[in-house]
């Protein structure tokens, strides 16, 4: 461990203050007794209690979780398939174009993605609701999954799949019995990433949602326009908690897998 110089300590403090003070204030004021958001009047958890009574918020929360689970699962399946083809498919026609196109939504402004999806849904006459939000979220989170999974597949020893084929597996059996179990950590962390992204999204969801279904971020956004209530602070705190847990789990899963893989590689190199 090296000791930090005072300069490093200051820059570290400033940086993290910049990042986390807003959230910290939000969390602190979610435990505020007063109804006024900016005046501290003692500690209380009553806004959490009240939140539990608010039918509209609970409904939105349920829709959000449903959408997140469905879209991240769908995105994981599609993203893994896409990553597999990109890494393993060899040099087929237009491979570079396709792999570029998979990653394009990463840098596409969300407003544009949202608008184009809205136009599509109207064009094919799909009523906006849970289904459309799921489809929209799958669209943009799929590319994140495929980035995570393909980076694992690149380091995957090809001869393992060949060994499976050699021992009598059809290509799909080889994928199911050998490839998938080995890349599972990357697939899981891809799923968690997609789940968190879906939970967070406001812009795309506001294009794809309709009167029959609203997600939590949309609900909060529209509620805040009428004035910030401590209830919203409580709700946001809960969301921060869920997202934090999700992100930490995802990074732990992939880090553990990486450490394990490294150990195995070292063990393999240490031939005795």
């Amino acid at each position: 461990m090296t000791r930090l110089s005072w300069f490093n300590v200051v820059s570290l403090t400033l940086g993290f203050a910049f990042l986390y003070i807003p959230m910290l204030i939000l969390i602190i004021f979610s435990f505020n007794e007063s109804k006024l958001v900016t005046v501290w009047a003692g500690f209380s958890t009553k806004w959490y209690g009240e939140l539990m009574q608010n039918e509209a918020f609970l409904n939105a929360a349920w829709v959000t979780v449903k959408v997140a689970v469905m879209s991240s699962t769908l995105a994981t399946v599609l993203g893994t398939m896409a990553a597999y083809v990109m890494v393993r498919g060899g040099r087929f026609m237009g491979r570079t174009l396709f792999s570029g196109m998979i990653y394009a939504p990463l840098v596409m402004p969300e407003v544009i993605t949202g608008l184009s999806l809205l136009l599509l849904f109207i064009g094919i006459g799909l009523d906006r609701g849970v289904l459309t939000i799921v489809l929209a979220h799958t669209t943009f989170s799929m590319c994140y999954v495929s980035v995570v999974v393909s980076s694992r597949l690149v380091t995957f020893d090809r001869s393992l799949e060949e060994a499976a084929l050699d021992l009598g597996c059809s290509p799909s059996e080889a994928f199911r019995l050998v490839t998938l179990p080995i890349i599972a950590p990357a697939v899981i962390s891809g799923w968690l990433l997609a789940f968190t992204l879906s939970l967070d999204d406001l812009v795309i969801a506001s294009f794809a949602s309709g009167p029959s279904a609203t997600t939590l971020p949309i609900k909060i956004f529209s509620a805040v326009r009428l004035g910030v209530s401590p209830e919203i602070n409580a709700l946001s705190t809960l969301m921060i908690a869920v997202v934090t847990v999700g992100v930490i789990t995802a990074s732990l899963v992939s880090k553990r897998a990486m450490v394990r893989q490294k150990q195995e590689e070292q063990a393999a190199a240490r031939v005795t």
């Binding site: 001869s159 084929l165 021992l167």
Partner: protein
Amino acid sequence: MGDIVSSTVFEPWEDARAEPLIRFRNVTKRFGSFTAIDNLTLDIYEKEFFALLGPSGCGKTTMMRMLAGFEHPTEGSIELAGRDIANVPPNKRAVNMMFQSYALFPHLNIWDNIAFGLRRDKLPKLDLEARVEEMLKLTRLEKFATRKPHQISGGQRQRVALARSLAKAPKLLLLDEPLGALDKKLRQDTQFELMDIQEKTGTTFVIVTHDQEEAMTVASRVAVMDEGRLIQVATPDRIYENPESVYVADFIGDVNIIQGRTSAVGDDTYSIEWAEGQRQLNATSATSFDNGQTCHLAIRPEKVTITSDRPEDADNAVQGRVHDIAYLGNLSTYYVELPNGTIIKAQTANTRRISRRSFTWEDPVWLSWTATAGVLLAN
């Protein structure tokens, strides 16, 4: 007596009636503009231990991958037991492969790794268990059945890979540099183990290696390859004692190559004019040479005798000075410089301890060898 010998010696390639297990017929394989295999024809027989030997990039691994079904010939055909296997996918071939990296499944334990191929065949549970146990016993891995591949040593992993590829009792087992990752001592032990297992199971083995010693030790026949072509296919002793080209002589073991011009003396004896002011050399050759033809005389260092006095009645004798000595413990190789600058290697077994050795640096010595010691090669 002669009959008994001929019936026990395993030489199906000498038998015109024997049906080869594998038949490469004019196989060419190109990757883009690069020709990996160049119009190659080869027969491999049942129960052979066949070694493909050559420097890296000579096409030996490509040949193995074509047998396994991971690559397809661009031209020509490959037959396995009389059947063209061009359109048979890897999972439908009675061929198993032991990978260079072993390719053990890291998420399965040793038992399940070995059972993997048998499960694909939908073997009944009892038969499957019996077969896995048999394989564990054959490769002496009973104690490690429940361990994961990363919990065992390299030598054990190598045996798991072997057990897994043998479990399905393939007609043909392919071994891709199987001992490359092992250290020398373990490699030698494992070579004998491999030969033992090959004999016990009666499986045809094709091994790819760049280690000539390994090929010589294990194989019934060796194919020396270079740039996608077969240079020579023969038994290890023929490859060593009767190389057909300078390339093979030089690739296998240590050799002195003396270039010169032949003139016939008798039916199969030639004298070789090889350097200004040096006496002509005498050599016999089964292949005939024209007078004045360029030739290369290949002599193994262990067939050159080193003496301090001029040997009497030697077919060939040259004088020089000890330029360098390579001491290998059991053997010493003397690098003797002749007056014209040519260096000739002579190898002797160190039957005496080092203080009793007769030659040292700069000593004048005589090198001699018989007329039949070397092989006369045209190219």
